[in-house]
């Protein structure tokens, strides 16, 4: 049985990617199972999806804690650290990244693969620069790098089950398959900055009632930002629209009345840029 875990952000299509993989595996004659785990159901929030592929009926109804393959739809999620948790020592790590796979952090033994699924998606008009829909491009890369499913079955699954732009999504899958790069595994002692160890949770200590003392004033709520707003003060008319519309109260006005973005709270939703009458706000990709 092959166990594949997807890590993405709400809106990127990680759940659909896992389901499409299951559909493709079924067309290949396999018995698939796929399901997502949602924390908060919100655009931009981390999402995990699980896909099992076997020759016979899957007899496990649990999340995947020892994946053969980890697929990361947004490289920022690698920084969070938990994406590689439990990845098998001879497993595969596939990341949507412009970087060469050899530059990816990974535990020893893991085959590293990367593909610039964002550029492929945008080339085919899938999603927006703010939120590219990268799932079909990365599935093509997964098919080529792992053989988990055939590219033919994947294209067929896309044709049948992707309601919008099936031709563009098929092309993205083909491009992803052609563009994926694989680096040889690192040897023990040379692995960098990544561990597949399963974190041991500390002993459980609960308060008297299910109450969390929490306020976004004291908690950095911007962990999932992929784009940041940059304000051109020369064009800013101090109309305060960005301050009014920011859903996270992450914009304050300084003494002169110019907006200042608190990046520890800004989730990069882009509403300020969309609302700004003189177009003084640009959304810039995070490094």
């Amino acid at each position: 049985m092959l166990e594949i875990r997807f890590h993405g952000r709400g809106g990127q299509g990680a759940v659909v990617a896992s389901e499409l993989l299951a559909q493709a595996a079924f067309l290949d004659g396999k018995r698939p199972q796929s399901f997502p785990f949602f924390g908060v159901e919100r655009r931009g929030a981390p999402v995990t999806a699980y896909c099992r592929i076997d020759d016979r009926e899957v007899r496990l109804r649990t999340s995947i804690t020892r994946p053969d393959i980890v697929v990361v739809l947004e490289p920022g999620l690698l920084r969070a650290g938990s994406a590689m948790e439990g990845l098998k020592p001879d497993g595969i790590l596939l990341v949507n990244s412009r970087e060469e796979p050899a530059a990816l952090p990974a535990p020893a033994g893991v085959r590293r693969a990367s593909v610039d699924a964002t550029t492929i998606a945008l080339t085919h008009g899938l999603g927006t620069p703010m939120m590219p829909i990268v799932n079909t491009a990365i599935l093509g890369a997964l098919a080529a790098a792992s053989g988990a499913v055939s590219l033919g079955a994947l294209e067929q699954a896309i044709d049948r089950f992707v309601p919008a732009h099936p031709a563009e999504n098929r092309a993205a899958a083909r491009d992803g398959a052609a563009a994926v790069r694989v680096a040889p595994p690192l040897t023990a002692g040379h692995s960098r900055g990544a561990s597949s160890a399963v974190a041991r949770a500390p002993p459980l200590e609960l308060p008297d009632a299910p109450m969390a003392v929490a306020s976004s004033a004291t908690i950095a709520t911007a962990a999932w930002r992929t784009l940041r707003p940059e304000i051109d003060q020369r064009r800013c008319t101090r109309c305060n629209f960005c301050w009014k519309f920011c859903p996270d109260v992450a914009i304050e006005l300084n003494a002169e009345g110019f907006p200042v973005v608190h990046l520890e709270h800004c989730k990069g939703c882009g509403i300020c840029a969309a609302e700004c009458p003189p177009g003084a706000i640009a959304m810039v990709a995070e490094g």
Binding site: E19, A22, Q23, P36, T62, L204
Partner: protein
């Protein structure tokens, strides 16, 4: 018949489509929403000729289908967790009025603290409302059971509402292959509802109005007697379904590898699948263990549990909820059913998987270790701490 890779929620929607339901009431709640979304799609694109009512609450959703059902329509609605709790009053109305409403419920934890994870507390809390309750293990079982539920609910001998439940995410959002019977097969199995309208437009009547104690006792006893006829009706309906589709889900308490078992684990819902794999592994090591799946919780299959108990020494019960009694709800029912059994097997309750916690193969293995151990505890909370830590300890 075609095989489609679909979610448990889609299995609910396809079953309602195949049953040719006439009235659907929809109110969204995670993780149920995609059931009524799919039905909206079927209605909008003309595949299903149903009245689709968007209502302002779950209370109204159930009231709408109760009323439509009293007028003779075949109806469907679905909910989960807090939504089901809000329906509680109307659940009693449905059974008391003897309307054959069928409802999908996605089993989700009850707040607080807020959770969208799998947990049976929502439907277990409705066990006393006079509804038939089915718990499904797979998406296939969801689809087949919804169709069977209509036949049973509408049977003149029964005329009771039924809920078909599925675990949040482990079925609701899990896609896997499902055999979808043809419309012809289902039409032959489940013809249009024989019109047994309780209310008739143009004929003024009151439904469920004030009743003196003598009549009241009689009506309650009628519901109780109807409940007694559910399991015999299920047996006949399943036999017919199996004849037409080749699938038989095995009555209210199907068993797995119990023939020479000393210890049997009784499960509900998706934990059953994982438990099958664990039992195969333990059998390889020489353990005489087996499984019984509690598929119907109301009416509780007392006779089937007694028959199982006649051949085993120890019964473990996996409760995916806790209701603040001496043990979990299923264990209490099992113990009650076995009070007069002789010899009487030991019953050990395991509370596991609540709030969406994974029920892992390791957790089920630990349950069997406790069950086969020198002194199986009356009640054990599994996985109270982190999974890795508890696997070591």
């Amino acid at each position: 018949m075609t095989q489609i890779v679909m979610s448990g929620n889609s299995a609910q929607s396809y079953a309602a489509l195949l049953a040719r339901v006439q009235v659907i009431a929809a109110y969204p709640i995670t993780p149920q929403t995609t059931i009524v979304e799919k039905l909206a799609e079927f209605v909008a694109n003309g595949r299903l000729a149903a009245q689709y009512l968007q209502v302002e609450s779950e209370h109204s959703a159930l009231q709408s289908v109760v009323s439509a059902s009293a007028l003779g329509a075949r109806t469907y609605t679905a909910t989960s967790s807090q939504g089901l709790l809000l329906m509680h009053e109307v659940l009693h109305w449905a059974s008391g009025l003897r309307v054959p409403v069928v409802m999908g419920v996605v089993n989700r934890a009850v707040a607080p603290p807020w959770s969208i994870g799998a947990d049976h507390a929502d439907t277990i809390a409705q066990r006393d409302t006079g509804w038939i309750q089915f718990y499904a293990e797979s998406n296939q079982e969801v689809l087949d059971t919804v169709l069977e539920a209509y036949r049973i609910a509408e049977d003149p001998a029964v005329r009771l509402p039924a809920m078909v439940t599925e675990d949040a995410f482990y079925l609701s959002h899990t896609v896997e292959p499902v055999d979808v019977p043809s419309a012809e097969t289902v039409d032959a199995f489940l013809p249009a509802r024989e019109v047994r309208a309780i209310l008739v437009p143009g004929v003024p009547a009151r439904l469920g109005s004030f009743t003196g104690p003598i009549e009241y006792v009689g009506f309650r006893r009628d519901v109780a007697r109807a409940m007694e006829r559910v399991l015999p009706t299920l047996a006949a309906v399943e036999e017919d379904y199996a004849r037409r589709t080749g699938r038989d889900h095995g009555g209210p308490l199907p068993t797995y590898r119990t023939e020479d078992a000393d210890a049997v684990l009784l499960t509900m819902g998706t934990a059953t699948t994982t438990a099958r794999a664990v039992i195969d592994a333990l059998r390889e090591e020489g353990h005489r263990v087996g499984l019984a799946k509690l598929r119907v919780f109301r009416p509780f299959p007392v006779e089937a549990v007694r028959a199982l108990a006649a051949s085993v020494d120890r019964i473990g019960v996996l409760d995916r909820s806790f209701t603040f009694g001496p043990t979990g709800a299923a264990a209490m029912e099992v113990r009650s059913a076995l009070y007069d059994a002789s010899p009487r097997p030991l019953v050990s309750d395991f509370v596991a998987g609540i709030g969406g916690r994974d029920i892992t193969p390791e957790a089920i293995t630990r349950m069997f270790a406790l069950l086969e151990g020198p002194e199986p505890p009356e009640l054990t909370w599994i996985d109270l701490a982190a999974p890795e830590a508890s696997a070591d300890g």
